[in-house]
């Protein structure tokens, strides 16, 4: 007899019938009725009307019946909060049942009833269960704390459950420890500043001990928790790594990936000359390779993560190329990822094999896969110079297949190869021209037109070819139109006699018949250039182009670092920071890898040195949500979110933010974007606060060969809500070799997101050519507002009220008082009082940040000692 029979009743008056059965005296009948109710619930029927009747069945010795009633409660309690109170008594009673299975069941279900009203009744039973003698009950109670915290965080804190939960980390039972860790991590994740997981060497030791004994899932909770810890030095880091590496032999892929995460992170702290560092690198490769024999979905997660790992530490898998060869029956998502990793691992040593494989793939049937394979061949050519020739001939072979999309992809990549190796492979142009007619995708058409224009002097019938495109000019996409315009101008400059008519035709098409401003502007510029100074035109249009970069599609280094900290999670699968896809994670700290132990100050320098040379951000994955922003500055943006700024935690401001205080007014004009990285646009600048207005003072220089127009600027969300107060005022087009100075007033009412470092600002600048992204740091002092002078009395009172955890103390070395005080004054740091104690001068100062956070400081100066001690207190004014 199966349960399916319960699904069959569909008669009218069913609810009424069920009601009668539920109230039956016969136990068996009652149970059957409850089963029918659950069956109805399963198929989506509303049986909430039976609430009181079902709850009446709750008091029973029959465990199965009890489970069913509990299941019903979980589903309907939320919609019937008043009735749910009826169940409270039974819960309380069940939590004291002699049978641990029932006690655990009660405490588990209790937490799933998300009704605020009844939560407080559940505190006492929960407290008892947390101390229960049976570990099965304790482990269930530990999770219940997280559930309750989700419903009513304040209640959990007031009841002291968090402390009890922390105590459970020292429990004798590994399952209890694991669940306590999981619950604490969960709570800490939703309350990033709670400082709940106060990890110290003692707790770490407890976790590592439990790691050996708990279930596979418990091991994952513990490893994920460990990954949040930052060891004090390289020795501690090594000893943790040593205890984590055995997990790499676990049969569960998720355990392996979580262990890899811990190791990848802690490895950062190990000196590279250490023997152990090498050993660890060697230990990582085999388990990563084995992950590829897991189920396809797990393979996919593993591959996405391997993609990150090979970018961060290419040495780990450099000899493992073969395992990424695609198998015929791999699902498409696995194939595409393997291909991507193959290109990343391609080197002179293995290029022959890789190319043979890629050629094989390019004759498959799956269009997306084939396209990517063809593109991969082009990328190999650009990456491994020695292989370029072979790649080109492979591409030519593929063009001979005449498979439409293969030809188009091949032409797009050949264009890039021309850019990388000028004057080497132009002999193939003739073959390319043969396929002109079959091109129907804008990217391929644009690439072909570029080639024709660029090599017009070698193509006899270049004018005919370009003319043929011109016929349908208005039906082309902008990409093709722009390229066609430029190509014909190039052609004209090379062969002026025969092509005058053609160039006039395209110029008039672009300037008179088009409503696309980019196209029109470009047309006018060419027109003016050609009519005023043809020699200059030649220099501009036919100028030598900068070579294209070797590595493409690399993930930007800071994002990569963050993603490494998220190995195994969705972030690592999407290659996006969690803040880009998790709602309400604005205040969440971006994770970063720890600095190398032996040179704490040089960490950023080391990161730069380690990082791959040039990164061309692909539009898809860079800077997360910056891409989603509209690039025109909005004045009617979201209302200022000052409260978010406060919530992000005063401590962090003290932690990292004050480093920048010490560089208060150093006016650093920095090059934010070198011309190489922004298609000829160089942006340099600085920040200043002038007459109460924050300004971004920039110099835009056009180092490209074409005119730049349509400038616009946008900021990503940042720690203090900095946002442009108006549009970027670049009114005239920026000619080649011209620079312009722009002052952009800023306000602080933009959206807030905590950045790391705190004063990091991610900016997008757009012009007619492209959108460019960069990050820069502003001096915190620009945020100090003019009314930051606090009344003496208020200062004294406030000083005492600020809790200790908001305090930070540090030393400033080699400072001179006179110079210092004038600088301070100029930066809106106000001296409130001064007194002398024991031969030390004490200066008391106040300043206020644009988001309403006050900083009170005590500056202790000892005569004759150039080192000052600063004590800073943070105070958030509640208004």
């Amino acid at each position: 007899m199966t349960d399916s029979k319960y699904f069959t009743t569909t008669k009218k008056g069913e609810i009424f019938e069920l009601k009668a059965e539920l109230n039956s005296d016969k136990k068996e009948k009652k149970k059957e009725a409850v089963k029918k109710v659950i069956a109805s619930m399963t198929v989506g029927k509303d049986v909430s009307a039976l609430f009181p009747d079902v709850v009446n069945c709750m008091q029973t010795d029959n465990l199965e019946l009890k489970k069913l009633v509990y299941l019903y409660l979980m589903n309907y309690a939320k919609s019937q909060p008043d009735m749910a109170i009826m169940a409270v008594n039974t819960f309380v009673k069940d939590c004291e049942d002699p049978n641990p299975l029932i006690r655990a069941l009660a405490v588990r279900t209790m937490g799933c009833i998300r009704v605020d009203k009844i939560t407080e009744y559940l505190c006492e039973p929960l407290r008892k269960c947390l101390k229960d003698e049976d570990p099965y009950v304790r482990k269930t109670a530990a999770v219940c704390v997280a559930k309750l915290h989700d419903i009513n965080a304040q209640l959990v804190e007031d009841q002291g459950f968090l402390d009890t939960l922390k105590d459970l980390i020292s429990d004798s039972n590994p399952m209890v420890v694991a669940n306590a860790v999981a619950a604490l991590s969960e709570i800490a994740e939703s309350h990033p500043n709670s400082n709940l997981l106060d990890l110290n060497p003692q707790t770490i030791n407890k976790l590592l001990t439990a790691l050996n004994e708990c279930t596979e899932w418990g091991q994952i909770f513990i490893l994920d928790c460990l990954a949040n810890y930052t060891p004090r030095d390289d020795r501690e880091s090594q000893s943790i790594c040593e205890r984590v590496t055995p997990r790499l032999s676990h049969a569960n892929s998720a355990v392996v990936l979580s262990a890899v995460k811990v190791l990848m992170k802690f490895m950062e702290m190990l000196p590279k000359d250490l023997d152990y560092y090498g050993t660890l690198l060697k230990k990582l490769a085999p388990p990563l390779v084995t992950l590829l024999s897991a189920e396809p979905e797990l393979q996919y997660v593993a591959l996405r993560n391997i993609n990150l790992i090979v970018q961060r530490r290419p040495e780990i898998l450099k000899h493992e190329m073969k395992v990424f060869f695609v198998k015929y029956n791999d699902p498409i998502y696995v194939k595409l990822e393997k291909l991507d990793i193959m290109i990343r691992l391609a080197s002179q040593a293995n290029i022959a094999q890789v190319l043979a494989e890629l050629k094989e793939y390019a004759t498959e049937v799956d269009v997306d896969f084939v396209r990517k394979a063809v593109r991969a061949i082009g990328r190999c050519a650009i990456k491994v110079e020695q292989s370029a020739e072979r790649c080109v001939s492979t591409l030519l072979d593929l063009i001979q297949t005449k498979v439409n999309y293969v030809v188009q992809e091949a032409i797009v990549v050949i264009k890039d190869i021309f850019r990388k190796y000028p004057n080497k492979y132009e002999s193939v142009i003739a073959t390319l021209c043969e396929n002109l007619d079959s091109l129907d995708e804008p990217e391929a058409r644009a690439a072909m037109i570029w080639i024709v224009g660029e090599y017009a002097e070698r193509i006899d019938n270049a004018d005919e070819l370009l003319e043929s495109f011109l016929e349908g000019f208005h039906d082309e996409s902008t990409q093709v139109q722009l390229q066609l315009l430029t190509a014909i101008v190039k052609l004209f400059l090379k062969k002026p006699t025969e092509t005058q008519e053609l160039v006039q035709q395209v110029l008039s098409l672009a300037t008179q018949d088009s409503d696309n401003p980019d196209l029109r502007d470009r047309g006018y510029i060419y027109w003016r250039l050609l009519s005023t100074d043809p020699v200059a035109a030649k220099e501009v249009v036919l100028a030598e182009k900068p070579l294209i970069s070797e590595e493409t599609d690399l993930i930007e280094p800071t994002l990569l670092e963050e993603l490494i900290c998220h190995i195994g999670t969705l972030a690592s699968v999407y290659h996006k920071p969690p803040s880009a896809f998790v709602e309400g994670s604005r205040g969440v700290q971006h994770k970063r890898l720890p600095a190398t132990a032996n040179s704490p100050d040089a960490s950023s320098a080391a990161a730069v040195a380690d990082a791959p040379p040039a990164v061309i951000p692909s539009q898809g994955d860079l800077l997360g949500d910056l891409l989603n922003l509209d690039l025109t500055p909005t004045t009617t943006g979201p209302t200022p979110a000052v409260s978010t700024g406060i919530q992000m935690g005063a401590m962090d401001l003290l932690g990292g933010g004050l480093d920048s205080l010490t560089m208060i007014d150093s006016v650093w004009v920095q090059v934010w974007v070198p011309a190489m990285k922004a298609k000829g646009l160089e942006i340099s600048g600085t920040f200043a606060r002038r007459a109460g207005v924050i300004q971004m003072e920039m110099t835009l220089s056009n180092k490209a060969m074409s005119v730049m127009t349509d400038f616009a600027i946008q900021f990503n969300r940042n720690s203090f809500g900095l946002a442009p107060a108006g549009p970027l005022q670049v009114l005239i087009p920026l000619s080649p070799n011209q620079s312009i100075e722009v002052t952009l007033p800023l306000n602080t009412v933009g959206p807030v997101m905590k950045m790391d470092p705190l004063s990091n600002l991610q900016v997008a600048v757009k012009n007619n050519i492209d959108v460019f992204y960069f990050s820069c740091q502003y001096p915190i002092s620009i945020l100090f507002v003019e009314d930051g002078k606090m009344e003496r009395q208020v200062f004294l009172a406030t000083w005492k009220d600020i809790p200790n955890e908001n305090e930070s103390q540090f030393q400033i070395k080699d400072c001179h008082l006179n110079a210092a005080s004038s600088k301070l004054q100029g930066s809106n740091i106000f001296t409130i009082a001064k007194r002398t104690v024991d031969g030390q001068d004490m200066l008391y100062q106040s300043m206020k940040l644009s988001n309403g956070i006050w900083v009170l400081a005590e500056l202790r100066v000892q005569a004759g000692n150039p080192n000052y001690t600063v004590t800073c207190l943070l105070w958030v004014q509640n208004t």
Binding site: T42, D134, Y136, V143, E216, T290, I332, T363, D368, V582
Partner: protein, 424 residues
Amino acid sequence: MSASAVFVLDLKGKVLICRNYKGDVDMAEIDHFMSLLMQHEEEGLICPVMSHGSVHFMWIKHSNLYLVATTNKNSNASLVYSFLYKLVEVFTEYFKELEEESIQDNFVVVYELLDELMDFGFPQTTDSKILQEYITQEGTKLEVAKSKVPTTVTNAVSWRSEGIKYKKNEVFIDVIESINVLVNANGSVMSSDIVGSIKLKTMLSGMPELRLGLNDRVLFALTGRDKGKTVMMEDVKFHQCVRLSRFDSDRTISFIPPDGESELMSYRINTHVKPLIWIESVIEKFSHSRVEIMVKAKGQFKKQSVANNVEVRVPVPSDADSPKFKTSTGHAKYVPEKNLVVWTIKSFPGGKEFLMRAHFGLPSVENDELEGKPPITVKFEIPYFTVSGIQVRYMKIIEKSGYQALPWVRYITQSGDYQLRTNV
């Protein structure tokens, strides 16, 4: 951290059963799943993760079911997929087959299991043998003993119950090696490796301590012994029961085994293995008229060994017709629904060579659809033999009652992912 809710859907996307673990994702979001999946399928970009607004779906497919987990956090994706596969494993052990019908027929137990397997998104006890001790299918006959939590659930040894008794204490050890080979159309071996697996069938009383000795090269190097052939295992994965830190420090494989059948360990060996069955093929396609196939299979293993149940699967165009075969041994069969010729040889001695010829007609009107180039695949099984030469040197069994127990060892080599690309 992981899943907010877990759903079991039928092929049309109808929810058969679900469990809301965290309540932070609207349960109605699952309605978007099927349309998302269709959309991805149309674009040819199927992906195990899909998102709709702020909700992310992680899913797997098993027979006629989709198992889907939802979340709106940065969940541990590998944990979620491992868990979903664990669900399949547990349900299969409970219901023999996991499919639509078994979910419907057992919905009460499914609910109970879902409640026990995961709590608030955290996977809990997932060992089906232990679960079966207190979540029973015959719920009606609830006995007192079964309503107690087995201490095993929270024990450090969470995979074996106490008080197991056998009249005769025995362990059966199966050493199974699978050969993965990828051969290019020009006959060069692109990649090859061995994936080994040691499976146990434990029929031992009490709480026995076991120690398994292999001819592991690292171990021999560690202990300074150098006798006979040793095997270098590239990567070793162990069942929950093996003490990993012990293995890490001195390569000792020590454990308390789960009762009954289990996979104790798996390993990977990355050496060049000679493909045990070598295939040479000539496939000639004459458009609009016929396809001629000639396949030669050679056993490249010891003469004393015999490969059993050899199957050579040769792809043919989907529009081929009127098959004709000629084989020097075994028999060939056309499987039109898979576009394959399957050549079966019951017993294939080492060193021997066999031949198969096939002839197909092709329609005069050409099939427009592009077809892929599926490889030739081979299946076989060679008993009493491991390619790597791995050997069980001993299995020590110690139980406090002091009984004598016998280990039995069996070796098998079989084909894994064994693919030979063709040039047609």
